[in-house]
Subunit: 106 residues, 2 copies
Amino acid sequence: MKLDTLRGHLDALVLAVLEPGPLHGYAIISTLRTRSGGTLDLPTGTIYPALRRLERAEYVSSDWSIVGGRKRRTYELTAAGRRALASERDTWKAFSNIVGGVLGTD
Amino acid sequence: MKLDTLRGHLDALVLAVLEPGPLHGYAIISTLRTRSGGTLDLPTGTIYPALRRLERAEYVSSDWSIVGGRKRRTYELTAAGRRALASERDTWKAFSNIVGGVLGTD
DNA sequence: TCCTATGTGTAGAATGCCGATATGAAGCTC
DNA sequence: GAGCTTCATATCGGCATTCTACACATAGGA
């Protein structure tokens, strides 16, 4: 499956995996890979720019730490991020209903 | 809803509305608008380049005609187009399951 | 006469995902 | 101790695709 397909929906996915609690970039990638049964394998060149974009939009905030001698940047949802996630869920529902309806895959 | 959201899925929608029978560009726009309850209102600058792309890929073929004094270019699915549509439906199912699953909107 | 609907089309800008590449530490195997 | 894999962050250029804005043209109703 062409992963370019998720263009425009990546932010929603990232916000969703951050909902239960903070994660760092690499963990976000593996969480998404696990949750999708291996199908969704985001390259780092996709996730890190996305996180910077989300941070600029103030949907997430980040903190540096050192774990096992490795530098980690951990991201956390802000209040605005939670609102954005709710809105993204609504958008997704509307979008998937429309596409599913037109394609006849309901 | 940002229509940019459908990036990567437009081809599937166009192929789907062409499935029952040939249509011209303008009719494709209004069909999609009707079927989406008005939400999907594609600009001509989106649909015409998309149709040329689909024709280059040989998923559709086109024929000119004159109806009511106006020139019309009517597009029809090819055999390859029907196969592509089937494949797009599979892609959509996989994609929407994954996104719906991660977002928790099932 | 003008506006709206019908109908096709292009050019340029913006968006944003991806591939390639770079850096570096930890830990394991041979 | 050399080399490999995993963990971890990051940038840059390329590229495909959608959107905005424009241009052109006919038919028909107000």
